[in-house]
């Protein structure tokens, strides 16, 4: 089996790369071992949220050139501001084609609210998290209601509201909390505590009883015009469900990401995969690439656990296996490695150097910056230190950036995925 490009990893970086390859008329297969980190993500795309001293960046593209200049090893430096911007435009267009609208605050960052009631700067969000109407309403410092679904374990309005009240941005807002009982619970033998975000999302999808839900939301909102709800308002049919709920309540409804599974992230995953399939991409799920043959500085083929001795060949390969959580990087007691090809890593040996003893250290944990060492063209070095011509690394497997401290995880995945596809198409 031979493709123009085989991508190892089906998360944000791999799917963006795959979509761009298909967009350029290349044949493309993605091999994905288990579902990606999108399932645990906020569903917003961070580009550059914090500058090196830790201050919030108001407008990422204004600081990006300086940021890149100061950090030539950063993945952003290997893409350049023009490509980064083009990649985000491309990403938004592809998702819109699947009905998922992604909004930005012009070229400025905006804040999204976390389940803890803290604010995170981000660049792109789904319309239920940021849009013009939400922005305008917020500037009028409205009365806010933070509500949850009765029995739901993965979001707690009291906690979120307490943190919001401490935030200077909300000092003139009155914040109330409450819960609503979903009418669907009355017809099931289950305890409401058993329902996860995904179950609730599907109940909303069914569309039945939305009128009753709307009435309860309105009542619990106690006069607030702005209502925050856990992000469970529809999993597949979210556009229609959200619109109906807002029409029925005449309120502005805002979605707060929940504990996993995160529906905001799932919607994105779904839309990217549907788009990839619709454009003719081949997605192999539940299989793991276990090795490949590098000869003469080129990766000839890879093999997978399921496909055994079958050789999957391609002109180019892209490694998008993610970081430690996704298994794209592996840490042992005192060493770290990239498990598929044993590529050269950029990291500090000695376990003591990897993390800060303070879990929420503002300077971040060093291990988050570790990963595969690549040249300016995103090409790695094999286990003997020799460059591999037709293998490109993208997303969280890369060294040289700290997604948490910088607020740059989503942007890096999209930009490097896009950049790799440009290089594949150019060859």
């Amino acid at each position: 089996m031979k493709y123009d490009c085989i991508i190892i990893g089906g998360g944000l970086a791999g799917l963006t790369c795959g979509l761009k390859c298909l967009d350029d008329g290349l044949s493309c297969a993605i091999i994905s071992a288990g579902m990606s980190a999108l399932h645990f993500s906020s569903g917003s795309i961070d580009l550059l949220g914090y500058d090196p001293p830790g201050q919030v960046v108001p407008a990422p593209f204004e600081t990006l050139s300086r940021f890149i200049e100061a950090r030539p090893g950063h993945p952003y430096a290997k893409c350049g501001p023009e490509t980064i911007e083009a990649s985000l435009d491309f990403f938004r267009r592809e998702l819109l084609a699947e009905g998922l609208e992604i909004c930005s605050n012009g070229r400025d960052n905006h804040f999204h609210v976390t389940a803890l009631g803290t604010l995170r700067p981000t660049y792109l969000s789904q319309a239920s998290v940021f849009n013009e109407r939400i922005r305008e309403a917020f500037f009028r410092q409205p009365r806010i209601a933070v509500l949850t679904v009765k029995g739901f374990r993965d979001f707690h309005p009291g906690l979120a509201a307490a943190n919001l009240r401490r935030n200077a941005l909300f000092k003139d807002c009155e914040i109330v909390t409450g819960q609503i009982e979903l009418p669907w619970f009355e017809q099931t033998p289950q305890n409401p505590h058993e329902f996860r975000s995904i179950d609730l999302g599907r109940m909303f999808d069914s569309g039945r009883g939305l009128g009753l839900v709307a009435a309860r939301v309105k009542e619990a909102a106690r006069g607030a015009v702005f209502v925050g709800l856990p992000a469970v308002i529809g999993f597949e049919d979210y556009n229609r469900v959200m619109k109906r709920l807002m029409d029925l309540t005449e309120l502005i409804i805002y979605e707060v990401p929940t504990l996993p599974p995160s529906i905001l992230g799932l919607r994105m995953d779904n839309a990217l995969k549907s788009r990839f399939a619709a454009r003719g991409g081949v997605f192999i799920a539940g299989d793991r690439v276990i090795g490949g043959e590098i000869t003469g500085g080129r990766l000839d083929h890879v093999h997978t656990r399921n496909y055994g001795d079958s050789r999957l060949r391609a002109g180019h390969f892209v490694l998008a296996g993610g970081s430690f959580f996704s298994g794209g990087l592996v840490s042992e007691f005192d060493r770290m490695s990239e498990p598929v090809f044993g590529l050269e890593m950029d990291y500090q040996p000695g376990r003591g150097n990897w993390y800060s003893p303070a879990f929420l250290d503002r300077r971040g944990h060093p291990f988050l910056e570790y990963g595969v060492k690549t040249d300016q063209a995103l090409r790695p070095l094999d286990r003997h230190g020799r460059p591999v011509e037709n293998l490109l690394c993208v997303g969280a497997v890369l060294a040289g950036y700290n997604p948490v401290k910088e607020g740059s995880g989503g942007g890096t995945a999209i930009a490097t995925g896009f950049q790799a596809a440009l290089r594949v198409a150019a060859d």
Partner: protein, 398 residues
């Protein structure tokens, strides 16, 4: 000492991704989902089997949870094993009958007309529902006359002229219900230059495992491993055209039954993989154009095993074919699951989206690798369903 054969439950991070992709949890509130029934509850069960939760009988063993899991937890294997390891045995005539495809098949093919008529006779079916809990609305598989083995032994001499041989594990479905598919497999293998041999195989054991007849399943598995090892002594390939039979021989024997199948595991191939390899090595037989729109449905077990890609690649080689790939999802029937009245509504609900998508495409035929997927799709859509091998043979004929 706690006996821990599969300790992958310890790799579970509680991320709940599996539950998102569980087709049963999606439609049935009675199933708490693979995470809870699998790795979560296993921790309790290994301490006290009395903590077994009856709801895990809703699991269809489709393995979609294992495909979704980012941490390589063998979730479905944990659930399947728990079903028979911790539960007390109760004899159910229906489960016994559904499990013994051969016991039922051998006499049925002798009186296939009568059996088929009876299977379509409404009062008999209502009685079967009342007595055995086999749903009235579920058509029973039709039986062919005689066995495929018999047909093959009558034509075995035609295979003598081939230097290279492939062992064909035909499975119960071909033997009793669909000789035509078996003949197509032989034809296709012959066209690729391989003569076919059969062994004295017995049922692969999948329906037995589903019914909890684990000792019997092991007995069948040992027998099959034995005959296949002997038959494939000269490193011959073992080919199966049933995605679930191949999955059982290759994966379920070691993972669920705890048997050593290493003598044959590397040589068992689902047919499209075998054919694809032959095509790559060449020469490729001439495939004539088929001006058809076909929708391809990948069975769950083929996806788990890794093999849908070969079928897709082969279908792409048929000239003129307008191939539509269906969204990857379970059709619901899950082998014998859909033949049980208590699960029939769940099976129907699971497949609803798939049926809707098929009707929206309006293909001339639906292609799938699994016989029970075929029954389910034919029951619920207006479209005929064919095996990819049959389509390839049609293309060879043009």
């Amino acid at each position: 000492m706690i006996d821990l054969k599969n300790i992958t439950f310890d790799h579970c991070l509680k991320c709940t991704v599996c539950t998102i992709y569980c087709p049963v949890a999606r439609v049935s509130p009675e199933f708490p989902g693979p995470k809870q029934s699998g790795p979560d509850a296993e921790r309790l069960r290994i301490k006290d089997p009395g903590l077994l939760d009856d709801s895990l009988r809703f699991c269809t063993n489709c393995k979609r949870c294992e495909i979704a899991c980012p941490s390589d937890v063998r979730i479905a294997d944990i659930i399947q094993t728990a079903k028979w390891k911790y539960a007390g045995r109760t004899f159910r005539p229906r489960d016994f009958l559904l499990g013994r495809t051969d016991l039922l098949g051998r006499p049925a093919v002798r009186a296939s007309r009568l059996v088929n008529a009876l299977a379509g006779f409404k009062p008999a079916r209502i009685l079967a529902d009342k007595l055995f809990r086999i749903p009235v609305d579920r058509p029973l598989p039709r039986y062919d006359r005689g066995t495929f083995e018999r047909w093959f032994s009558d034509h075995a001499s035609s295979q003598d002229g081939f230097e290279r041989k492939a062992v064909y594990f035909h499975g119960c479905y071909v033997n009793y219900n669909d000789h035509a598919l078996g003949r197509d497999v032989v034809r296709l293998l012959n066209a690729l230059g391989f003569g076919v041999t059969l062994t004295r195989e017995v049922c692969c054991g999948v329906p037995l495992m589903a019914g909890g007849y684990i000792d019997r399943a092991r007995k069948n598995a040992r027998h099959n491993i034995g005959v296949l090892t002997r038959a494939s002594g000269e490193a011959a390939r073992i080919v199966s055209a049933s995605s679930t039979c191949s999955f059982a021989l290759k994966n379920e024997y070691p993972n669920l039954l705890g048997l050593d199948n290493s003598a044959i595991a590397g040589r068992i191939e689902y047919i499209t993989r075998f054919v694809h390899r032959c095509f790559e090595e060449g020469p490729v037989p001439r495939l004539g154009p088929l001006e058809l729109t076909v929708a391809y449905h990948a069975p769950c077990h083929l996806e788990r095993m890794g093999g849908a890609l070969y079928t897709i690649e082969l279908l792409k080689r048929i000239p003129g074919l307008n191939l539509k790939l269906l969204h990857s999802e379970c059709c619901g029937i899950a082998g014998t699951y859909g033949f049980k009245s208590e699960f029939h509504p769940v099976a129907q609900e699971v497949g609803r989206d798939l049926f809707r998508r098929i009707e929206a495409i309006r293909p001339d035929v639906v292609i799938t690798d699994c016989e029970t997927c075929k029954w389910q799709i034919e029951l619920n859509t207006s479209r005929p369903v064919l095996h990819p091998v049959t389509l390839l043979c049609q293309s060879l004929d043009v």
